[in-house]
């Protein structure tokens, strides 16, 4: 398994938006297409939020300390 990348979501979202915009809502039911757009927009927003909430992704020191617990910069004593 490989984690889906933001790029893949973008590609899917663009495709879904094209489909939804091409749908003629006067003659047919376009709800499923727009529902897909909403689903992908939400997935993208969730990815962003997860990244923001993960300190190892946006703090260089945290990212370094994840792999080097014993480095001088990273040691933490709780006593």
């Amino acid at each position: 398994y490989v984690r889906s990348t933001p790029k893949e979501v973008d590609a899917q979202l663009e495709k879904a938006l094209k489909e939804a915009n091409a749908c003629d809502d006067k003659s047919e039911n376009c709800a499923p297409q727009w529902d897909t757009v909403e689903e992908l927009s939400a997935a993208k927003a969730h990815m962003k939020a997860d990244k923001k909430a993960d300190p190892t992704q946006n703090d260089p020191l945290e990212a370094f300390c994840k792999d080097n617990e014993d480095a001088d910069e990273c040691r933490v004593y709780d006593n």
Partner: protein, 422 residues
């Protein structure tokens, strides 16, 4: 070498007697080391041992850290013989995931996807809670729905039989193999194994739609976002995305609306608590910048008591800003009073406006009663901890945190056991 030292669990008593002892054994030659914790809880059961091999001369940082954190203590607790099921219903993009983060934060630990499984899994597991996304019970994948011409909001798109079987099994303490709906590809991926947790949270569009599932849920929460606010939030969320426009956001909300009104919205009449988010009444506001948030709490439930302001059962409108509290524009307005909701007795707690300094929140919190907090200022402390989440400066964050504490109380009342506040 053998080190021995005493410590205490968190306690309200300023000078508590030591109630556990650590033994730290280290052998300088092999650099192998064992930590043993003896506590009152452990008199009844086997000891917990943590051991790890370290490079010579390295400091056992992880063990020091773990030994003093609540998560390490929780390992000493007895597994409850009953799973408590919490249900959360809301439409997509209404802040379910923020609410989940706040709620699981109250039980401590950070929720993570199942280790080593599908990285696109929607499940989040922490020490005490497992959160399952009900999209995993879609009966058809994205393409299948398109062929049938139905949205994910339709009951036909859900496999309620499987949902019922799984929730029932998990509640009885059995593990299940749950399918995974991949939100990126829109396909149903191979199943993942879910063990029965102490607290099972099911969140999604239809947690209370099917009566069999509804009857299994111990505490039901509904996030009710008004159309204006939904629109404003989705603009904030999607406007920067490539291809999205004001028009496409509007169309997407409009197109899904009939199904939402028919199948999702009616579930709120079954909820125990409803968080309603409405436009403010303090100032004219087109952008949905300020919010009026109402916490609607059902009366007469065995498992929780509604929170109230000043005096239970009265109707009170309160502007906390004045001599004791300086508020910035547009200020804060609180309301509390009894009401009826779909023919049932409810208590409504309301907050309009936003706070931008924490003193304001502690001032408001100190006038709320029945909050299920374990110490003075717990709500404010939780909000501080999660200050980066959306809604942290208005009623959404406050009431989500309050409901999180109610969830803890429901759990304690069912299993008749205390949760150590984190």
């Amino acid at each position: 070498m053998l080190y021995e030292f005493d410590g205490c669990f968190a306690s309200q008593n300023p000078n508590p007697a030591p109630n556990f002892t650590w033994f730290l054994l280290s052998d300088p030659d092999t650099a192998y080391f064992v930590l043993r914790v003896y506590s009152i809880a452990m008199m009844k059961q086997s000891s917990t041992m943590r051991s790890q091999t370290l490079a010579k001369g390295a400091v056992p940082r992880a063990v020091y850290a773990k030994a003093s954190r609540p998560s390490a203590r929780r390992a000493l607790e007895v597994r409850a013989d009953q799973t408590v099921v919490i249900g959360l219903a809301a439409d997509s993009g209404c802040g379910k995931s923020t609410f989940m983060r706040r709620m699981t934060g109250i039980f401590g630990g950070s929720p993570k996807p199942p280790a080593g499984g599908n990285p696109d899994s929607n499940t989040l597991i922490s020490d005490m809670t497992t959160v399952i996304c009900l999209d995993d019970y879609h009966a058809h994948d994205r393409n299948g729905r398109k062929v049938l011409n139905i949205t994910a909001l339709c009951p036909e798109a859900q496999n309620f039989d499987l949902m019922y079987e799984h929730v029932k099994a998990l509640k009885e303490g059995k593990a299940v193999d749950k399918p995974i709906y991949n939100h990126v590809t829109g396909l149903l991926d191979p199943a993942e194994r879910i063990e029965s947790p102490e607290i099972l949270v099911i969140e999604g569009l239809h947690p209370f739609f099917d009566k069999r599932v509804r009857d299994l849920v111990d505490f039901k929460i509904y996030l009710d976002i008004s159309d204006d606010i939904k629109f404003a939030w989705k603009i904030q969320r999607d406007m920067a995305e490539r291809g999205h426009s004001l028009d496409s956001i509007k169309k997407s909300i409009e197109a899904r609306k009939p199904d939402f009104s028919a199948y999702i919205d009616p579930q709120k009449k079954d909820a125990d608590v409803i968080i309603q988010v409405l436009p403010t009444q303090l100032v004219p506001d087109q952008e949905g910048k300020y919010l009026r948030v109402r916490l609607i709490q059902k009366e007469g439930k065995k498992l929780f008591d509604p929170s109230y302001l000043f005096d239970e059962g009265s109707t009170i409108s309160w502007i906390p800003c004045g001599r004791k509290l300086t508020c910035s524009f547009p200020g804060i307005k609180m309301f509390y009073g009894p009401d009826t909701f779909y023919g049932e007795e409810v208590s409504v707690l309301e907050m309009d406006g936003q706070f931008d300094k924490l003193e304001e929140l502690i001032y408001v919190e100190s006038h709320l009663s029945n909050t299920s907090a374990k110490f003075y200022g717990e709500i404010t402390q939780q909000m501080l901890k999660n200050s980066s989440f959306p809604g942290s400066n208005n009623g959404t964050g406050l009431f989500q945190t309050l409901v999180g504490l109610k969830v803890r109380e429901v759990y304690e009342r069912i299993v008749k056991k205390e949760v150590v506040p984190v």
